[in-house]
C-alpha cells in the first residue's frame, strides 16, 4: 500500500506533499512532508470524535477572526462533542454533501484498520504555481526571512507559501451547503458550525482545509457589522457566536417541546461511531440538554455594593460567558483578574442608588466570581479608546499568562474556589492597531501537543512557543483571547510527565538524528509531539468524564416555558451546586474508587440541583428581561443625545435595545470604560434571550465614530440615573453596575 503510494508520488513529483509514505524521502524531487504531516505519521486509526483532525480554515480576506475562534472551539473537547451530539449525532450518510465534482468524494467509511489515515487519494493533487522546485530546502531556524525584494510567498518558509501549499494539497471541504434540515433545525450559525465539525470529523483525511462559506454567509446575513471586508474583532465574534449558539440551541429545544409525541431514545454517548446511529431527529426535549453552552462557558459574577451611608450591602448576580479584563503594563493575567475584582468607589458622577436609604449615595463595589465556568474565556482588552487620539488604540502591554491558573477573585461561598484551569488555546492578534491585522490561534490538542492554526496552515509548535505572545513594546503579535479549561491536578501531573518523557526521548532522538534530519521549522515540535502518545488515554478518560457529566445533566429545555416571576433579590441565595466538585485537594488524594463515588455523588447533586437551577434559569431570564426593559427606558431617556439619538431610537422601536454602543466598549473595544461593564453583562445576558440582531446597525459606524465617546457618556449617564445607579465613567475602570 505504501509502496503504491510511494510510486504514485514519485510519478508526479511536483504534487502536493503527502504524508504517511516513507518512500517519499528517497525521492529527492518529492516535496518534503510538512511538519504536520510528519507529526501525523503512524497516527493509527481515525477516531470518531474528531480529536485527530487538523484542518486549516480558508481565509476569504480578513476572516481570520472567524477561523481562529472556530478552531479554539473545535479543540475544546466538551464543546465539540456537544456540537456534534446536539440534537443527535448525525450519521454521515444522512448529511448532504457538496456536489462539486472537483472536490474529492467524501468517503464516510472510516478506514479503521488502516494505519495510514492520511489518504493521499483523498487529497487534491493540484500542483501549486509556486512549486517549480518542489523539494523543500532544509531550513535552519532563524533563516526564515527572505531576502528583501522577493515576494513573500516565494519563500518556502513563509506562511504565505505554506498556506498556498495547504490549499493546493487539500482536501478542501467546501462548506457551502447546509444540513440544518437534517438536524431538524433552522439554518443558523450553530447549524453551520455543526456542519463544519461533522464534515471535518467524517472526512477520512486527517488534514486539509475547510472553506467556511456558509458560516460566514449566515454571520454576515444576520450581523451587519461583520458584513464589511474589514478587520473584525475576534472576541466580538466569539461572544456573538456563543450567544448565537445558545440561542439556536434553546430555540430548537423549545420547538421540540411541542412535539413531545414521538419519544425516541437519544444517544448522548460519545462512543457512537458513524454508521451505527439511527438518524434521530425527534428526540424528546427531555433528552436534550440545551444548557450545555451555559454549563461550559457560563460563570456567575456577584457584584457586592455596600452603601457608605447606610452600610447596607446588596448583591446582584450576573452571568458571563467570558471575562474582559483591563490590562496594565508588565502585569500577569492573575493580576488583571485580581484588579477586575478590586474594590471600586462609586462616587461623584458615578453614585449608587441605594434602595435602603433611597437616593444616590457613595458606595463601595466589588465584583467576584461566584460560579466558575468550566471553560474560562479571558479577553485581554488590548484595544482601548484613547481620548488623546480619539480612537481605539492597541495596547502592547506585556501581560504574562501561565499555563495553569486558579482564580483569586472568587466569593467566599463559591464552590471549588481553588479550581485548577489549564491554558488550552490562545488567540493571537498580529498587527499594530485595532483596525487591521491578523488572528491566529495556538491550541493544545488532545494528544498532539500545541499546534499553530494560521488560516489554512496548521503547524506543530513547541510548548515554549505559546509564551511568545506576552506582548511588549514593539511586539506586534500578542495574545488577545485566552481559553482556560477546567482540569485536575492528576491530569496536570500526568501531562507534565508525558511531556517530560517526550522531551527525554526527543533529546535522545535528536542526538541520534542530528546529522540526518534537516532542522526545519517546528521540527522540535514534531519530535516532541510524536512521542506524546501516552497522553491520550489519560486525557480522554478525564475529558470524557467531564463530558458525561455534562451530557447527563438535567435538561433545561422545558424550563424556558416557565415564565414565573422571581424577585431578583433572591438570585444570590440560589446557588446551584452545579458541577459539584470536591476541592482539588480531595481530587488529588482520591483513589479511583473514590472517583466513581464522587461522580455518583455529583450526579446526585446534579439531580438535586435541577430544581434550583430551574429557578435560577427563570430568574436569570427575568433578570435579563428586566435589564432589557430598563435599558430601553434608559435609552428613551437618552434621546437627547445628539449623535446616538437616531440609531438608538431605531433600535428601541425594534424592540432591540441598542447594545451597539456599549457592546463595543465591552467586546473587545474597551472604548467606553465606564459603560463597558454594564454592557458586558447585559450583553451576555441579553444574548441569552436571543436577539440575533443585537449588534444592530451602525455598529461599524460607531466603531469609528470618534465623537461617540462623549455622547455615550451622556446617554449612559442618563440611563444610569434612570436605572438608579451611576456608573463611574472612567477609562481606567472596567465595571459598573445598575441596581433595580
Amino acid at each position: 500500500m505504501t509502496s503504491f503510494f510511494g510510486r504514485l508520488k514519485s510519478g508526479n513529483a511536483p504534487t502536493s506533499p503527502a504524508a504517511g509514505t516513507t518512500p517519499l524521502k528517497k525521492d529527492p524531487n518529492a516535496p518534503e512532508a510538512t511538519p504536520l504531516e510528519k507529526l501525523l505519521l503512524n497516527a493509527g486509526p481515525l477516531r470518531g470524535d474528531g480529536s485527530d483532525k487538523f484542518f486549516g480554515f480558508e481565509n476569504f480576506g480578513s476572516t481570520s477572526y472567524c477561523n481562529s475562534i472556530v478552531q479554539c472551539l473545535y479543540y475544546s473537547v466538551p464543546f465539540r462533542d456537544q456540537v456534534i451530539n446536539f440534537p443527535a449525532r448525525s450519521p454521515p450518510e444522512a448529511l448532504e454533501r457538496p456536489t462539486s465534482s472537483s472536490l474529492p468524494k467524501i468517503n464516510t467509511n472510516l478506514p479503521n484498520g488502516q494505519s495510514s489515515a492520511l489518504s493521499p487519494t483523498g487529497r487534491n493533487s493540484m500542483s501549486s504555481p509556486n512549486s517549480r522546485t518542489p523539494a523543500k530546502p532544509a531550513t535552519t531556524p532563524g533563516a526564515t526571512n527572505g531576502a528583501p525584494g522577493t515576494k513573500p510567498e516565494d519563500n518556502k518558509d513563509s506562511p504565505e507559501y505554506k498556506k498556498k501549499q495547504a490549499l493546493a494539497a487539500g482536501p478542501v471541504l467546501q462548506m457551502d451547503y447546509e444540513n440544518a434540515n437534517a438536524y431538524g433545525m433552522n439554518e443558523s450559525l450553530f447549524s453551520s458550525l455543526k456542519d463544519i465539525f461533522e464534515a471535518v470529523i467524517a472526512h477520512r483525511s486527517r488534514i486539509g482545509v475547510v472553506s467556511p462559506h456558509k458560516l460566514l454567509e449566515i454571520l454576515r446575513r444576520d450581523n451587519e457589522m461583520f458584513r464589511t471586508p474589514m478587520h473584525q474583532d475576534a472576541h466580538e465574534f466569539l461572544n456573538l457566536l456563543l450567544n448565537e449558539v445558545v440561542e439556536n440551541v434553546e430555540q430548537f429545544s423549545k420547538s421540540r417541546v411541542t412535539e413531545v409525541g414521538e419519544s425516541e431514545q437519544s444517544e448522548n454517548g460519545l462512543t457512537v461511531t458513524a454508521g451505527e446511529v439511527v438518524p434521530d431527529r425527534s428526540s424528546t426535549a427531555s433528552h436534550l440538554n440545551s444548557g450545555w453552552v451555559h454549563e461550559l462557558f457560563e460563570g456567575t459574577l456577584t457584584s457586592e455594593t455596600r452603601c457608605l451611608t447606610c452600610e447596607n450591602t446588596s448583591q446582584r448576580d450576573e452571568a458571563f460567558l467570558d471575562l474582559s479584563v483591563d490590562l496594565e503594563q508588565h502585569s500577569s493575567v492573575t493580576s488583571c483578574l485580581r484588579k477586575f475584582s478590586e474594590e471600586e468607589m462609586l462616587c461623584e458622577r458615578n453614585k449608587f442608588h441605594c434602595d435602603n436609604c433611597g437616593g444616590l449615595q457613595e458606595a463601595e463595589k466589588r465584583m467576584k466570581i461566584k460560579r466558575l465556568p468550566k471553560i474560562l474565556a479571558l479577553h485581554l482588552k488590548r484595544f482601548k479608546y484613547t481620548e488623546d487620539l480619539q480612537r481605539l488604540q492597541k495596547l502592547f502591554h506585556r501581560v504574562v499568562y501561565p499555563f495553569y491558573l486558579r482564580l483569586f477573585n472568587t466569593t467566599d461561598d463559591a464552590e471549588d474556589p481553588d479550581r485548577l484551569y489549564e491554558l488550552y488555546a490562545v488567540v493571537v492578534h498580529i498587527g499594530g492597531g485595532p483596525y487591521h491585522g491578523h488572528y491566529v490561534s495556538i491550541i493544545k490538542t488532545q494528544d498532539r501537543g500545541w499546534l499553530l492554526f494560521d488560516d489554512e496552515m496548521v503547524e506543530p509548535v513547541d510548548k515554549a512557543y505559546v509564551r511568545n505572545f506576552f506582548g511588549g513594546e514593539g511586539v506586534l503579535a500578542c495574545a488577545y483571547v485566552l481559553f482556560y479549561q477546567e482540569t485536575t491536578e492528576e491530569a496536570m501531573m500526568k501531562e507534565q510527565e508525558a511531556e517530560g518523557l517526550a522531551a527525554a526521548k526527543q533529546a535522545t532522538e535528536m542526538t541520534e538524528e542530528t546529522v540526518t534530519t534537516p532542522k526545519a521549522n517546528g521540527t522540535n515540535g514534531y519530535h516532541h509531539h510524536t512521542y506524546n502518545a501516552q497522553t491520550p488515554t489519560v486525557e480522554e478518560e478525564d475529558q470524557f468524564a467531564s463530558l458525561n457529566h455534562a451530557a447527563t445533566a438535567p435538561p433545561l429545555a422545558h424550563v424556558q416555558t416557565n415564565t414565573e416571576h422571581h424577585p431578583v433579590e433572591h438570585v444570590s441565595t440560589n446557588v446551584p451546586p452545579l458541577g459539584a466538585k470536591k476541592s482539588n485537594l480531595m481530587l488529588f488524594k482520591k483513589s479511583n474508587k473514590e472517583d466513581k463515588e464522587r461522580k455518583a455523588a455529583e450526579k446526585e447533586l446534579e439531580k438535586q440541583a435541577v430544581q434550583k437551577r430551574k429557578e435560577m434559569e427563570t430568574q436569570r431570564r427575568e433578570n435579563y428581561r428586566r435589564q432589557e426593559e430598563e435599558l430601553r427606558a434608559a435609552l428613551a431617556a437618552s434621546k437627547e443625545s445628539a449623535t446616538l439619538e437616531e440609531r438608538k431610537r431605531v433600535n428601541g422601536e425594534n424592540g432591540e435595545p441598542s447594545t451597539t454602543a456599549d457592546g463595543k466598549g465591552t467586546n473587545g473595544f474597551g472604548s467606553v470604560k465606564g459603560v463597558s461593564g454594564l454592557s458586558r453583562f447585559r450583553h451576555t445576558s441579553m444574548s441569552l434571550k436571543g436577539k440575533p440582531k443585537f449588534w444592530g446597525a451602525g455598529k461599524d459606524k460607531d466603531k469609528h465614530d470618534t465623537t461617540d465617546d462623549t455622547s455615550h457618556a451622556d446617554s449612559e449617564d442618563k440611563s444610569d440615573e434612570k436605572e438608579g445607579s451611576k456608573n463611574r465613567f472612567s477609562l481606567g475602570r472596567k465595571k459598573s453596575t445598575f441596581k433595580f
Binding site: 488604540q393 499555563f403 495553569y404 481553588d418 511586539v475 507534565q496 510527565e497 482539588n584 485537594l585
Partner: protein
C-alpha cells in the same frame, strides 16, 4: 497620530522591549537619578537609589544574519536568554554575619515548641572537615555556620577523595584553568575586552568592596562595584552565540589572586573561569554530558572543585571543574530509574542516574540526578549545607538531602511554575516565588506551607532573605518580579504561629508516613496570606535579580540596569533601635 511601532530588530535579545540592537559595541553608563520615585520608604527608614549602572547590551555577533523583518509567528525555537543577574564577591574576610548571631539565639530561643534546629544535628566531626581548615584565611572561617562541621559531599567515596586531596595541600597556590581566554581561538568565545589598566585597578580594589560578575545578553562583565569608575568593566567577555544564564563564585577559593567562577550557558556548556589570570576551561563541551541549557549553577559548599548545575531537562549534575568530560551513560543505581521508564503512572521525583558514590570517578559527571523532566528554574543550597531546594517550571518544589541523595519533600505551587527559591539564613524556612504571582514560605521543620505572600502584579523572578534584617523570629524577605517592582515582606513566626499549628496538625495527620514525600496543594482558604510592607517600582523593565548587601539592596533588570539602593542612614533608624543594635553590635 498612531504610528506603527517599529518591528523588533533584536529578537534574540531576551526581553522583547529591548532597544534595538546597536551595531557597535557601546560602553556602560552610570546615572544618578534622584527624586521620590527613587526612594524606598519602609518602617526602618528610607532606601535611596545610589546609582543606576546600565550594562551595554552587546550587538549580535556578526555571524548572525540580522533579521530585518522577522515573522512574528516564526516557529523556530529561540535559545533561552535571561535577564542580568549578578554574582558578588568580597575578597576580605566577611564581617561575621548576623546570621551567626541568629543561629545562637535560635538555640536559646524561648520558642520551646520548635524542635532542635536542624543545624544542631550534624555534629559529627569528620576527618574531611580538616579539608576546610586551610580555607579560613580566605574568609571561610567567618562563614555563619562554621562551627558546624557538616559532612562534605561525596566524602564517603574514596574515588573522589583522592582527587580532592591533591588540591588541599597548598591552598594558596590554586590550580588555574588551562586555556587563556584572551588568546583563545575558540569559536565559543568571540572576544575578550580587558580594561586597559586592569592590573592597576585590581591593586586599587578595596578588599571590602564587591566584585560583581554580570551577564547581559551574550556578554559577561566583571565589574568593581566600589570603584569610582564602576561603569568601566574590568573585563568583558563576549561569547559568540551562547548566553551565560547563570554564574557563581566559589567562596572558598577566593583570594586576591584567584577567583573561581563557573558559568552555565544556553548551549549547555559550562565554563570555569579565573578572571585574574584570564584562564578558562570548558566543561560539558558541546553538551557531551547534557546538551540542555544550564539554568542555574552553584559551587557545592566546602568544595573547591565540585559544583552543581541544573539543566533545563530537569537534571542536576555535579561536575568537577578539573575533570575531563566523558559521554554520560546512566548508571542504574536506583531501581527508580526503571520505574520512570516502565510505569508512567507511578512516578519518582528523584532518580539517581549516577550516584556520587559511584566508583567510576575518573571523569565528569561526578553525579547525575534527574528530577522530573521539567525545566529546573532555580535551586539553592541550604545554609547547613545538607539540603538542596529545587524549583521547576512544572510547579514542583523539592527539598533534597543531597548528601544522602534522597528526596525529602515534594511540594507543588498553587499554580504555574516556580521561578526562584531561597533559604532563610538560619535554614528553617524556604521561600519560593512563582508564576502564580505569589511568594510561598515553607517551613522545613514543619514540612509545610506556612504562608503565601500576595502583592506582585506579575510573576516573581527573584527572592532573597535580607540577613541583616532577620532574627530568630522575624524575617525580612525581598522579592522582585516581572512587574518591575521590588516588594519587601516582614514575616514573623509569631504572627503565623497559630495558623501554623493548626495547619501542621492537618498536614501531618494526612501523611504520618515518613516515606510519603509528596505534599498536596494547600487550598487558599487554609493558608495565611501575607501582605508586603513595601511595594515599589524599581525599574522600567522587568526585574530579574535581587541581592542584599550590608549597605545596600541591589536589583538588576532584564535589560541590564543594575541599581544600588543605599540602606537607611544610621540616624534614620532610631525608631528601630532594637534591630540596629543587633546589626551593629557584631564584633
Amino acid at each position: 497620530m498612531f504610528v506603527l511601532p517599529p518591528p523588533p530588530r533584536y529578537p534574540t535579545g531576551g526581553y522583547p522591549g529591548l532597544p534595538p540592537g546597536q551595531v557597535i559595541e557601546t560602553n556602560n553608563t552610570l546615572t544618578h537619578p534622584t527624586g521620590p520615585e527613587y526612594q524606598l520608604v519602609v518602617g526602618e527608614g528610607t532606601y535611596v537609589l545610589r546609582d543606576d549602572l546600565h550594562l551595554a547590551t552587546p550587538p549580535p555577533h556578526p555571524s548572525e544574519a540580522p533579521i530585518h523583518n522577522p515573522n512574528p509567528l516564526a516557529t523556530d525555537i529561540k535559545p533561552p536568554t535571561c535577564g542580568t543577574k549578578l554574582s558578588l564577591v568580597a575578597l576580605a574576610p566577611r564581617q561575621p554575619s548576623h546570621s551567626q548571631l541568629h543561629r545562637f539565639s535560635t538555640r536559646n530561643s524561648t520558642r520551646s515548641q520548635v524542635p532542635p534546629s536542624i543545624q544542631e544535628s550534624p555534629h559529627e566531626s569528620h576527618s574531611q572537615a580538616s579539608d576546610t581548615g586551610p580555607h579560613g584565611i580566605n574568609g571561610f572561617a567567618s562563614s555563619p555556620l562554621d562551627g558546624l562541621h557538616t559532612p562534605v559531599f561525596g566524602e564517603g567515596n574514596a574515588a573522589l577523595a583522592v582527587i580532592n586531596g591533591k588540591d588541599s595541600k597548598d591552598p594558596l597556590k590554586r590550580r588555574k584553568p588551562k586555556n587563556n581566554i584572551v588568546k583563545s581561538n575558540s569559536s565559543f568565545v568571540s572576544r575578550v575586552i580587558p580594561h586597559e589598566s586592569l592590573s592597576k585597578r585590581l591593586q586599587e580594589h578595596n578588599p571590602n568592596g564587591h566584585y560583581a560578575f554580570a551577564n547581559v545578553n551574550r556578554a559577561l562583565q566583571w565589574l568593581d562595584l566600589t570603584s569610582p569608575t564602576k561603569e568601566e568593566h574590568l573585563t568583558k567577555i563576549l561569547f559568540t552565540k551562547a548566553h551565560a544564564l547563570c554564574h557563581d563564585i566559589n567562596q572558598i577559593t577566593k583570594g586576591p589572586n584567584h577567583l573561581d567562577i563557573v558559568m552555565g550557558f544556553s548551549t549547555g556548556d559550562i565554563i570555569w573561569y579565573e578572571p585574574m589570570s584570564q584562564k578558562y576551561t570548558r566543561i560539558n563541551k558541546n553538551g557531551v554530558i547534557n546538551a540542555n541549557p544550564v539554568s542555574d549553577v552553584r559551587w557545592l559548599p566546602n568544595s573547591e572543585n565540585l559544583f552543581l548545575a541544573a539543566h533545563t531537562d530537569g537534571s542536576l549534575v555535579v561536575y568537577d571543574k578539573e575533570k575531563e568530560d566523558a559521554l554520560f551513560v546512566a548508571e542504574e543505581f536506583s531501581p527508580s530509574a526503571e520505574d520512570v521508564m516502565s510505569d508512567a503512572g507511578k512516578k519518582t521525583h528523584l532518580t539517581i542516574k549516577k550516584s556520587v558514590n559511584s566508583k567510576n570517578q575518573k571523569a565528569n559527571p561526578v553525579s547525575y540526578w534527574q528530577t522530573s523532566s521539567s525545566k529546573i528554574n532555580a535551586f539553592e543550597l541550604s545554609p547547613d549545607r545538607r539540603h538542596l531546594a529545587v524549583v521547576s517550571e512544572d510547579g514542583s518544589f523539592r527539598i533534597i538531602d543531597f548528601l544522602k541523595e534522597k528526596l525529602l519533600h515534594y511540594f507543588m505551587s498553587y499554580y504555574g511554575g516556580f521561578t526562584c527559591v531561597c533559604w532563610s539564613p538560619d535554614g528553617r524556612y524556604i521561600v519560593t516565588g512563582g508564576q502564580d504571582d505569589l511568594l510561598s514560605i515553607w517551613s522545613l521543620e514543619d514540612r509545610m506551607l506556612v504562608a503565601r505572600c500576595q502583592g506582585h502584579n506579575s510573576w516573581v523572578t527573584g527572592v532573597q532573605f535580607d540577613p541583616w534584617r532577620c532574627d530568630e523570629r522575624n524575617y525580612r524577605i525581598g522579592s522582585v518580579g516581572e512587574d518591575c517592582r521590588l516588594l519587601l515582606w516582614d514575616f514573623s513566626v509569631d504572627s503565623t504561629a497559630n495558623r501554623l499549628r493548626s495547619n501542621s496538625n492537618l498536614t501531618s495527620a494526612s501523611m504520618p508516613d515518613e516515606e510519603e514525600v509528596i505534599h498536596q496543594v494547600e487550598p487558599r482558604a487554609r493558608t495565611a496570606m501575607l501582605p508586603p510592607v513595601l511595594a515599589k517600582t524599581v525599574d522600567e523593565h522587568p526585574v530579574a535579580w535581587l541581592g542584599f548587601e550590608e549597605d545596600c539592596i541591589l536589583t538588576s533588570c532584564k535589560s541590564g540596569h543594575i541599581r544600588t539602593w543605599d540602606r537607611p542612614k544610621e540616624g534614620a533608624t532610631n525608631d528601630d533601635s532594637g534591630r540596629s543594635t543587633t546589626s551593629t553590635s557584631n564584633p
